[in-house]
């Protein structure tokens, strides 16, 4: 995983609440057996006027001129400012993959859906939680074109253009993993002995949980 660097980027504001993962990446794209290539289809139903299909070349598709990401100057934005309960609905990890593949590295909202929130960290995305007041303030300011924020994960701050700092909290181990680009599996396998020990105890106390699932 790529280590998380300091970010200074244009912000795209999407003032919609309860954006679900079906909207982030519609289900026809779940058929892919790969982890990459979802970026062009991010928010497909909102972003384009036609219907997207996997494998399509998106360069000449008709864009929805009203959609937030299609506004001039939004190309290359790494920060997405969103409404409450972002990422609700299906647990598809394709949602963070699509955001990541598009180039988004940071989300800012006052709340996220649980599974989505967890999935972000596993894929190198930083979902920042700010208070409702702070998010409202950002929404007000982000209407001006080329509104940029600095994100410093090390000091856990969002730095506004006028220099004001908004602090956010993030779980220590997640921060460490993001900053160092570490793989969760490696970290867990450090406890292999404990897992084996637990397993053999459990096998003794509840042997029925270890039945082989035999074919018909």
């Amino acid at each position: 995983m790529e280590a998380f660097q300091r970010i200074h980027s244009r912000v795209v504001a999407m003032d919609r609440a309860n954006v679900d993962t079906d909207a982030i990446i519609p289900k026809q794209f779940l058929k892919s057996i790969r982890r990459t290539g979802f970026g062009p289809f991010l928010f497909d139903e909102w972003r384009y006027l036609d219907r997207g299909e996997p494998g399509m070349d998106c360069t000449d598709r008709p864009l929805n001129p009203d959609f937030e990401l299609n506004q001039p100057g939004c190309e290359g934005a790494e920060i997405l400012l969103v409404g409450q309960n972002f990422g609700c609905g299906s647990s598809r990890e394709h949602a963070p993959w699509a955001l990541q593949d598009y180039g988004i590295r940071v989300l800012i909202a006052c709340s996220y859906a649980d599974i989505f929130y967890n999935n972000c960290f596993k894929n190198g995305l930083l979902p920042i939680v700010l208070t409702k007041e702070e998010v409202d303030r950002l929404f007000q300011e982000a209407t001006s074109s080329d509104y940029r924020l600095k994100i410093d994960l090390e000091s856990q701050t969002v730095i506004m253009p006028n220099g004001d700092c908004l602090n956010f909290s993030v779980d220590g181990s997640r921060k460490y993993r993001l900053l160092n680009g570490l793989d969760d599996i490696d970290l867990s396998l450090q406890y292999s002995d404990q897992i084996r020990e637990y397993e053999s105890k459990r096998r003794k106390h509840a042997p029925w949980l270890f039945r082989e699932l035999l074919p018909l």
Binding site: K27, L30, E45, D114, I115, N118, I195, W208, L216
Partner: protein, 469 residues
């Protein structure tokens, strides 16, 4: 300090704790790993790329369900992308020696139907699957929750997950529901009140007389939709019904292990003095058959109600989302729910495709006909086992004589990844769990209801109150 008792969730959590990280997160052991074709290919790919092997093959049960065709299986799978996903799962299972019910297996079906049906889901287990409706299995006093694909890979490689413990929340449904009111109506009423984020951050225990009175099928329906209330897992305490359901299932404990298993399972309930951070009470007799009117499961009213007016919303955010939902659904405020006419009816999904659901729906339509304005009415059994049971009981004939199509098991029109889907603008009464925009097909309009309500709507051509139908 007085120690309070433990909740069922606390007990399940402590029982699976392998290691407590300094940051408060925990490494917890996973007993059962259910795998389907959509969320697993990237996990198997990741495992292979890192040169890792699955930790415990016998914990895994795999099945294809999301993409499978529900018309005859002999024709194969037309859509090349669907076929590739299914073949990829078959190949991964063959390569690694994982037990899989492939699409020719008579036990194939929706992953959340086959787990309990085979006895692969047991009380006291941790059950995970790369699918948010894994909460279904909590009906058995198991800690069951959906995970993402990275976590699927993590469980494959380590048999564990790193998790932060959720809070404890209890939803108590007191008294009993009236006739014609089902588990689906109970859970929709709960979501209607607490909202789709009402359970966020909690493991929700469902309790009370109305929950205890439900069959295991009904309890699965309730836990299935815990995720629609924002909770990753729902649990229900073990009782005689739980144990009776499991007895004799193919993967249930063998005879000499059965008594010890039952003794262990009997402890799976919250202590009387357990403390929940959040408690919500419902009065079962006042719950009526529910119908959703919008694009989120919380946008729901009793069938006797009307499409609500966005101007009555508590705040701007709600008003805007109500307006958007009504526009998408093509409905106007004040319309009686019973005046909503339908194009299609879908009886199926992991919420409502078990034998009991099919019996209830068949009871309603027995000797009646699907209305002329209904373009298609589908029954998609949850599994091959459910399908054969229903056929033995003659339910298939009741459905077909009424004008329903009787299909092969799978997720089907719950999420329209296969050929079963709504056309833009079409309106459907569906027993599934999500009415999101485009969920049942691009531009499709979904109304969530119980199987009885879906069956009655198929006959009437519009929603009707099944209690007076």
């Amino acid at each position: 300090m007085i120690m309070s008792g433990k909740t069922l969730y606390d007990k399940l959590w402590e029982d699976h704790l392998v290691h407590l990280n300094p940051d408060g997160s925990s490494l917890i052991y996973i007993d059962r790993h259910l795998v389907h074709e959509v969320t697993s290919p990237q996990a198997f790919e990741g495992l292979r790329l890192a040169g890792r092997k699955p930790w415990r093959i016998s914990s895994i049960l795999a099945v294809s369900d999301h993409n499978v065709p529900t018309k005859s299986r002999e024709l194969g799978i037309e859509d090349p992308v669907s076929r590739l996903q299914i073949e990829t799962l078959d190949q991964n299972c063959r390569d690694l020696g994982i037990t899989e019910f492939d699409i020719s297996d008579p036990r194939q079906g929706i992953v959340h139907v086959i787990g309990p049906e085979q006895g692969a889901t047991l009380p006291g287990m941790t059950v995970v699957c790369g699918d948010s409706h894994t909460s279904t299995h909590g009906a058995f006093g198991a800690l069951a929750f959906g995970i993402g694909t990275s976590e699927v890979e993590h469980v494959l490689a380590t048999q564990c997950l790193t998790q932060a413990k959720s809070g404890n929340m209890r939803v108590t449904v007191n008294g009993n529901v009236g006739p014609g009111v089902s588990a689906k109506d109970i859970v929709l009423a709960i979501i209607g009140r607490i909202g789709t984020a009402g359970g966020t951050g909690y493991a929700v225990e469902f309790s009370g007389e109305a929950i205890r009175s439900l069959s295991m099928e009904g309890r699965m329906t309730v836990c299935n939709m815990a995720i629609e209330a924002g909770a990753r897992s729902g649990v229900i305490a073990v009782d005689d019904k739980t144990i009776d359901y499991i007895r004799g299932r193919p993967f249930a404990p063998v005879e000499d292990q059965w008594p010890a298993a039952v003794t262990a399972w009997r402890k799976l309930h919250s202590d009387a003095d357990a403390v929940f951070e959040r408690e919500v009470q419902f009065d079962a007799p006042s719950i009526q058959p529910q119908v959703t009117w919008g694009t989120s499961p919380e946008m729901v009213v009793p069938v006797t109600g009307k499409v609500p007016d966005p101007d009555s919303a508590a705040n701007r955010v709600n008003r805007d989302s109500m307006k958007k939902a009504l526009e998408y659904m093509g409905l106007r405020p004040g319309l009686a729910m019973t005046d909503i006419h339908l194009d299609r009816v879908f009886v199926g999904s992991c919420t409502n495709s078990r034998i009991e659901d099919l019996r209830v729906a068949a009871d309603v339509i027995r000797g009646r006909r699907v209305a002329a304005n209904i373009r298609e009415a589908l029954v998609v059994p949850g599994s091959g086992v459910v399908k054969r049971q229903a056929e033995q009981e003659g339910l298939d004939r009741i459905f077909m004589e009424a004008g329903f199509e009787w299909r092969e098991p799978g997720c089907s029109m719950c999420l329209a990844m296969n050929a079963d889907r709504l056309e833009p603008g079409e309106r459907c009464a569906s027993t599934s769990n999500r009415n999101f925009e485009g969920r049942q097909g691009y531009g499709g309009r979904t109304h969530l209801v119980s199987p009885a309500m879906a069956a009655a709507a198929a006959v009437a051509g519009h929603f009707v109150d099944v209690r007076t139908f």
